[in-house]
Structures are given as structure tokens and as C-alpha cells.
Symmetry: C2
Subunit: 439 residues, 2 copies
């Protein structure tokens, strides 16, 4: 399924002027979903869709009863505090709603007068958690990240033998995921004893890091015991967000054997509030290319369609702002840039693998990609890679250095799709700030 | 907090005769919670409490308005499809409700006529998932299990250096947890290549196992960024259930490095439907004893109160029934027996550790203990231990053997507290059946 249709015409313009500004990120070809409420308010969040610098109130639009059929049913599911109900309806409903929203927001639409009162400037609203996340799974799909991290432990044999066969993943913590703007105290915990057999260290994490990831929101799930086949997998995906998988490297090194990361990751994770649908990303599909020396995946992870168009060209960036840079009114520093297309596994493969054993996914579940590092310098998705395992501090333009994150550091992840002749499709940003430890 | 009070008087008798039968498991001193509906019905589940062979409808009792104060507020939270609301209220509310239920169900209570119409025979009801589980964490607290499993990989050094300092845990899958009576198809997946560098195997799991665990239901949670201190931790626990953490050993061996178990565990987990409160278990508290050669835990995992009474004496049993045994009308075979008191870490330590980094627990979260094997033969909590890594098949009394589970095998886990002069406090059972793989 390419999902390409009239909503992807690059010539489409909206009667919302800001949506037509070059590189604004939320043109009429995007239409990302979020939940929002008036800034400073205490009322329940409800779904909205972005258009330029505005958010359209979908719960209010549902009450206006201007759509029919599947689009109306999809809008009906927006009378809720989260996107879970809309997510659970399935791709035909999301697609029908997108088409009607695109038509209603186009220049010349007869619905302009109906919709105009339902818009708010995004600056005037608070964005919430788009979904109640049932289960959160984090994968490890960047070979470049896995190799860089593996080299620090096993210089001669950085990639484990299963890596090129199994989309490695593990379950993470759903309760501590929050939206952009999250701040959290530096985690406290045990660290490896200074001498073998000694007493472990205990205190605030000294090697706090970020991880640059994308998040995949599951739409329709599957029945326990039934698998999702590769070529049907994308129809189960509602859309993508940006994800910062904050990581306490010193806690991780001591705790993670034999059952994997736990307290090193579960204190906080930060997502972007906007969920960009796979349909909005369709113009940025590309062939899923492997190095010819890499093994052909097992049949359940391989198909002609998946190879032809299973990858997405999504640019990713990491920025850092510190207490000192903000005091100097210096903008955040760009630390690195990478691209989702360089990942070893793709979205459909993650869902097919996750369910091959009968594991049931549910609407609102979140799958993280794992750190999306690219090949070569400047494409590192974590400080651990940028600083070569803590050995080479990163120099910041305003004179500071960072081996790992300091208190009051703010990490800002951004993602967007760009190509000539098509408006920029932004995924927005995930920003989060480290506060001092509570001890 | 010992929580001992008038509800623990061993002389208490109920006007429900079956609750007074010796060893019935649900005497008036127990009062475990579940959610239920009429068998074969499709209506919503609602909370109930067991007394003998009966279940008392707590939603209906709430409507009768016979309690006051905290007990009435707790009953009000039972007008729900799960126990989450009741769990979130906190220990003083659970305790107040327990006290009033104990008084109302005692022989001679003036409320007998009011409550009698609200009873159903447990045989006539269907029991559901007691809570919506937000996050599920599985620990690894039996040193005997960790050593037995570690020996199969590292004969000279079975326990990793972190084991006696860190209560090792990882996040598991919440969506695939179901109550006793669950059946599921044998999982399918990748297995280690027959030769190094070869193509992995793919097909139905050949080394399917059970794991004998207890589950800990979190009641009141904590705010993200705040920890739960050791001596306050038990007040955050609503109660315990039995948990079977089904495990595909061959899938696990190939996938679990470096991030831990994933598809080997997340296809199904089976809990008992009854949640027994810590207050009901109070008479079975015992001192938490360590081998004098083991290190003293770090201060956040250690207190005089925790050492004095942080462990619980709960007997555990594993039974197996097969297609052949059922055809012969032979009862399930007892495979092993162990006890929760032999674990290396206790309940309060698990909560204190889980939150020391600021990770937020929520009402309805489930913590698994990990496989509860005891010291020595006959106390193995998994087939992998009973069969010595698949090398010595277990002989069943009706002539069959088992290295790992076969299709149509039913595993039944039971747990109960027994001591002279006190009625048996049962946790009920978790029964689950393996169906043939779907390929």
C-alpha cells in the first residue's frame, strides 16, 4: 500500500495562511494529530489536528456533524480525552477522516466558515499525551548504534550473531513516558563497584544520556495468538512521533545482565505531542536497501513490497541547550543529524516480528525504534557515541564541554521530511530538561 | 506495620458455612478480591470478595449503603469493572473495608439478611482480570533459580556479580496477561542456527516451559521523580496473586542478548483471579533471613523492620495434567513444591528498588517475583530446572515423560499459607493450557 492519493498533491493550499508558508512543517499535506486544551486550563484534553500554526478542535468538529460515512465515525471517536479510540478504528477510517479534513481545509472550501471558529493558535494551547500507552516496546534497529555501543564492550566483535536476523527489542516502561516539555530529576541508583567484589556505588547518575528515536503508535491491534503479516503490518500503524529514550549509562552497565535495561531507562521518556500518520509520510517512502553482504531476512520479515517501499526518508536532529547558553541567550547547539532510512529494520518488520509468536498489540501501544544513529561522524544518536564512551567530551560553541548531561541541560530532538517540490512534513519536537537529583 | 488486628482472630467463624470447613482456603480470615460476572454472561465484570465457596457482590453491597466512612468510600470504588479504583485508594481504605466485611460476614452479624442475597456460588460465576495492568515488571528474586539457570550457561560462575546487590528485574508484557483458564497457541519464532553463522531455525517452540511465580499488585502508586521508601513500601501493595510466566527457552536463548527476554515471554502469562491482601497474609509474616556470608544490602534496601518481618511463608506447588492423564481420568501430577520465604529479596525491597530512580508505579501495576525455586531437589520452579536443562526428562506417574511442555498440557500452580492453629489462607490457582501452534 503506498497510500498516495489527492491529499498528497504538492500544489494544495489551505485557507489557513500559515499552512502555506514555506517550511512551516504543518502544511495541508501533513495534518498531524494531537490532544490539547487551552493553556493553563484544567479541563480534559481532546483531539485536534494541526494546520499551519493552528490546531483544529476535532471534538467540536464532531459536534458540527459536517462529515458523513467513515470520516464521521472517525470524528465520533474524537469525542475522547486521547486518540486511542480513533487509533483502534483502523486505516480506512483514518484515511477517510484525513481526506475530508484535507478537503475542508483547502482554499475555497465551503466549510471554511464552519471550521474557522474551531481553530486555536498552537501557542495558546497545552498539548497532552496523545494516547494512553498500554505497552511500550523499544527496539534496537540502527546497526550503526549497535555497532558503536558494541565496540565499547567487544572491540573485535561488536555486533552479536543474532543482530542481522532478529529485530532485537525489549519491553520498556509506559508510565514514565511524557510529552515534550517534560522535566525530571536526575535518576539515582547503584553503580558498578570500584573494585571487583566491592560494594556498589550509590548516588545520582553520572553518565546521563539521551537517545534519538522515533516512536511508532499502534492503531488497530491483533488478537492474542494471531500474528500480523508483513504486508498487512503498516495498516496497523496509526503514525509516528519523536522519542527521547533517556538513559543512565552507569546504572545500565551494572544492572543490565542478564535481563536487560531496567532502572537505567524507566525513569523518563519524552515524546513529541504530534502524531504524523503513515499516510502523511507516504511521499517520503523509499526502497528498503540492504548491503548485499547482509543476509536475506527470514520469509516472515521479507517481501517484495517491503523491499520496494518499506523505508522512510525522515531527517532527525539533536540539539542541546544548557543553563550557560540560555544565560548568554545563545540558541541550542546542533549535536548531530541522522536519518530513519539508515536503520537496519523497518516499521512493518517490527510489527511482524513483535506478533510472530502471537503477542497481542493494542491501539495506543508505542514501539520505539531504538537510537537512530547514521553511518559516520556527525550522525551519532547518543552522547555515548559522540563522546566515544565518555573519553572525548563534546565541545559546545559557547565554550562548554559535555561528556554526559549536566543538570538543567535541555535536549531537543527534531524530525522532518524534506524533498524538492514537496512541502516540509514536520514531526515537531521532543524537548526535555534534566533537573538536579533528589537524594 | 504488622497489620494484625481483630480480623486475624483464628476463632472467627462465618455465617457462610463453607467458610468454616477445614482447609477450605477462603475462610473469613482471608477475604480475597476478584472481579466476576455470571458464568456464560456478557455483562461487565464487577468486584467481589470470596467467603468459603461463595462470592459476595461488592458493587451490589455498595448500593445497599450499609457501611460508613472509609469502608463506604472503598465500597464506592467497587462500582467499577476492575479493582483499579479500590487499589488506588490506599491501605487505610482497604483495611477499613476488610474490617467491615469481616464483621458483616461473622456468625451472628445483623447484616446477614442483607448480604445473603448478594452471594453467588463461585462455581456459577466467571472470574475476570482483577485489574487493568498498566505496566508489568518481572523480577528474578530466587537465588536458587538464578543459580540453577546460570549453571547451565556458566558452570563455574553461575551467579553474576550484581545478583546479591541489585534486585534484578525487567519490564514484561501487560497485554498478554490473562486469568486462570487461559489457553494459547504454542509460540512460533526464531531459534539459534544449528551451525555458527548459519541461518536461524524458525517454527513452533520446542522448549516450552512454565515459571512458578507470585504476582504483586500495586495499590497506591508514587509520583514520577519521587521514590517509595523501604518501610513505607508495603502500604503501596494491594495484594498477591499466583503468576505463571510461560517461557519459550529456545526462542529466549537466541534473542535475549543484549537486551533481555522479549518474544520468549510476551505471548502469554497466566495469573490467579483472586488477589489476597497483605493484611490477610499478615499472620504468615516471618523474619527475612540471609546467609551470614551474603552482603548487607545497601541502606535503601535494608531496615530493622524489614529484616524482622519482611518475608512471607507461602507454600507453592506445580501440577501437570496431560491429554493422556485426562483420558485415563488420572489427576494432575505434583511436579514440585517451594516457598516464597526462600527468595533472596522481599516485597518491600522490590518496590523500593523499582522507584529509587523516580520511576512511577500506578494502581494495578503487576510485579512478578520471578521463578520461585527453593533449595534442593523437588523445589524447582520450572521444567528447565527439573529436567537439568533438557537432559533428564521428568517421569510422570502415568508413564509419560516430559522434557518440555507438549500440546494440550495443562499447568496448574497453587499457593496457600498453612500453620497450626490458623485457618488455611489460599491464593487459589493459576491454570493454563498449551494449544498447538498456528503456522
Amino acid at each position: 500500500m503506498s497510500y498516495l492519493n489527492e491529499t498528497h498533491d504538492p500544489a494544495l493550499q489551505s485557507w489557513v495562511d500559515s499552512a502555506n508558508q514555506p517550511d512551516n512543517g504543518f502544511p495541508i499535506q501533513n495534518l498531524p494529530f494531537a490532544v490539547f486544551r487551552p493553556a493553563g486550563g484544567t479541563q480534559d484534553f481532546h483531539p485536534g489536528v494541526a494546520i499551519g500554526d493552528q490546531v483544529l478542535d476535532l471534538a467540536a468538529l464532531a459536534a458540527a456533524q459536517v462529515f458523513t460515512g467513515k470520516a464521521a465515525e472517525a470524528l465520533g471517536a474524537c469525542k475522547s480525552t486521547t486518540l486511542n479510540k480513533l487509533m483502534s478504528l483502523g486505516q480506512p477510517y483514518w484515511s477517510a477522516l484525513r481526506l475530508e479534513l484535507s478537503r475542508a481545509l483547502r482554499s475555497g472550501s465551503a466549510l471554511q466558515a464552519t471550521l474557522e471558529p474551531l481553530l486555536s493558535n498552537i501557542k495558546d494551547v497545552e498539548l497532552g499525551m496523545p494516547a494512553r500507552i498500554g505497552d511500550y516496546t523499544d527496539f534496537y534497529i540502527s546497526e550503526h548504534h549497535a555497532t558503536a555501543v558494541g565496540k565499547q564492550f567487544r572491540p573485535d566483535n561488536p555486533l552479536l550473531p543474532n543482530y542481522k536476523w532478529v529485530p532485537i527489542g525489549y519491553h520498556g516502561r509506559a508510565s514514565s513516558i511524557n510529552v515534550s516539555g517534560q522535566s525530571f530529576p536526575r535518576p539515582v541508583g547503584q553503580t558498578r563497584p570500584a573494585t571487583e567484589g566491592g560494594t556498589p556505588g550509590f548516588g545520582p547518575c553520572q553518565r546521563l544520556d539521551y537517545e534519538l528515536e522515533l516512536g511508532i503508535f499502534v492503531g488497530q491491534g491483533n488478537t492474542q495468538g494471531e500474528r500480523i503479516n508483513l504486508d498487512e503490518a503498516e495498516a496497523h500503524v496509526f503514525g509516528l512521533c519523536i522519542l527521547n529514550d533517556w538513559s543512565a549509562r552507569d546504572l545500565q552497565a551494572w544492572e543490565y545482565q542478564p535481563l536487560g535495561p531496567f532502572l537505567a531507562k524507566n525513569f523518563a521518556s519524552t515524546i513529541s505531542p504530534w502524531v504524523v500518520t503513515l499516510e502523511a509520510l507516504a511521499p517520503f517512502r523509499i526502497a528498503f536497501e540492504r548491503n548485499p553482504n547482509d543476509p536475506q531476512p527470514l520469509p516472515y520479515l521479507s517481501s517484495a513490497e517491503n523491499q520496494a517501499s518499506g523505508a522512510f526518508d525522515i531527517g532527525l536532529q539533536v540539539f542541546l541547550s544548557t543553563q550557560a547558553s540560555r544565560a548568554q541567550q545563545t540558541g541550542p547547539a546542533l549535536l548531530s543529524e541522522s536519518n530513519f532510512k539508515d536503520a537496519y529494520w523497518n516499521i512493518a518488520q517490527l510489527l511482524a516480528h513483535h506478533t510472530v509468536n502471537g503477542c497481542n498489540l493494542q491501539a495506543g501501544d508505542l514501539l520505539g525504534t531504538g537510537t537512530l544513529s547514521g553511518p559516520g561522524k556527525g550522525k551519532e544518536g547518543s552522547l555515548l557515541e559522540l563522546n566515544n564512551g565518555g573519553k572525548q567530551p563534546v565541545k559546545l560553541p559557547w565554550g562548554e564541554e559535555r561528556s554526559f548531561l549536566q543538570d538543567h541541560d535541555e535536549v531537543i530532538l527534531r524530525a522532518a521530511c524534506r524533498k524538492p517540490g514537496y512541502p516540509t512534513i514536520s514531526l515537531g519536537q521532543s524537548a526535555g530538561t534534566v533537573l538536579p537529583a533528589k537524594i
